[in-house]
């Protein structure tokens, strides 16, 4: 009797093995995957701070003194548009038609310097696809430098890559207007300190 039952069980197992074995193999693979040690990179504020310090030093060594001081004091950099640079080269009496504000990890903002009218937001990012360091975001100052290099080196290319939006999508227009007013005050103060000519503006920070 016992022998018969054992033989029946063996036959049943053999017949069901096609169904059971793949499930067992999959369960074993899942178990091994859960147990596998994966390299985890924890957020390290000290490392991020050191990275930012290196990034600031690199940015400072690349941009001019005025742009560095602007970033240090105001938290953004203004870059004139390429067309502005060309027209300024041709006729220095002409005012540049447009410029960009570069904020870290925020869109590029195009505006008209004469009127402070906001034109567009250009959403652009510099993601590190390899991302082996826990975050795919560059340090703030590296992000600013990447935008600065891309804009001054090949404005058309980076603008064509960016996603364009109307002002106000990510950057608060009131805050940007305030920043432009701060920029005007900051430039006035620099001119005063340098003993240069005074100029007036019709910017209303409110």
């Amino acid at each position: 009797m016992l022998l018969a039952l054992a033989a029946t069980a063996l036959v049943a197992l053999a017949l069901l093995s096609d169904l059971i074995l793949p499930r067992l193999a999959a369960a074993w693979a899942r178990h091994r995957a859960r147990r596998r040690r994966t390299p985890s990179v924890v957020y390290d504020p000290g490392r991020e701070l050191r990275a930012e310090q290196r990034a600031r030093a690199l940015l400072r060594s690349c941009v001019n003194e005025e742009e560095w001081a602007m970033y240090r004091d105001l938290g953004f950099i203004r870059v004139w548009g390429a067309q502005a640079r060309r027209s300024a080269d041709l006729d220095r009496s002409k005012d540049p038609p447009y410029a960009y504000l570069i904020y870290p990890h925020r869109p590029l903002l195009a505006y008209v310097p004469q009127t402070n009218r906001l034109l567009n937001e250009y959403c652009v990012a510099f993601p590190d696809q390899s991302a082996p360091y826990g975050s795919e975001l560059l340090p703030d100052s590296d992000d600013v430098l990447a935008k600065w290099m891309a804009l001054t080196g090949d404005e058309r290319r980076v603008i064509s890559t960016a996603n364009m939006h109307l002002p106000g999508r990510q950057l608060d227009p009131a805050q940007v207007t305030r920043d432009l007013w701060r920029l005007t005050q900051w430039e006035r103060a620099r001119l005063r300190n340098a003993g240069g000519p005074q100029f007036s503006t019709n910017i209303d920070p409110s």
């Binding site: 030093a57 990012a125 991302a131 826990g134 975001l137 001054t152 080196g153 890559t161």
Partner: protein
């Protein structure tokens, strides 16, 4: 430029030394093949600071002190 690291020195050498130049060219191509953009900060006309985007090793000015590699731009949200 690397997330979490900032500036990382990849390679250095003297382009006037053949062996150094070969290594620099190899490293330059490796970075571009990895999808990075390359730029050289320089002083343009009227003393203005600007960057020159570099697409081949021959584009690098011989007197350039450094080439900066940074992630390729992508449309952001």
């Amino acid at each position: 430029m690397k997330p979490g690291h900032g500036e990382v020195l990849i390679a250095e050498g003297d382009v006037d030394v053949a062996e150094d130049e070969r290594l620099l060219i190899e490293e330059f191509r490796r970075q571009l093949d990895a999808g990075l953009w390359a730029a050289v900060p320089m002083t343009g006309g009227r003393g203005k600071r600007e960057a020159r985007m570099i697409r081949s090793f021959e584009d690098i000015p011989r007197d350039a002190e450094r080439v900066i590699f940074f992630p390729r731009a992508a449309g952001g949200r």
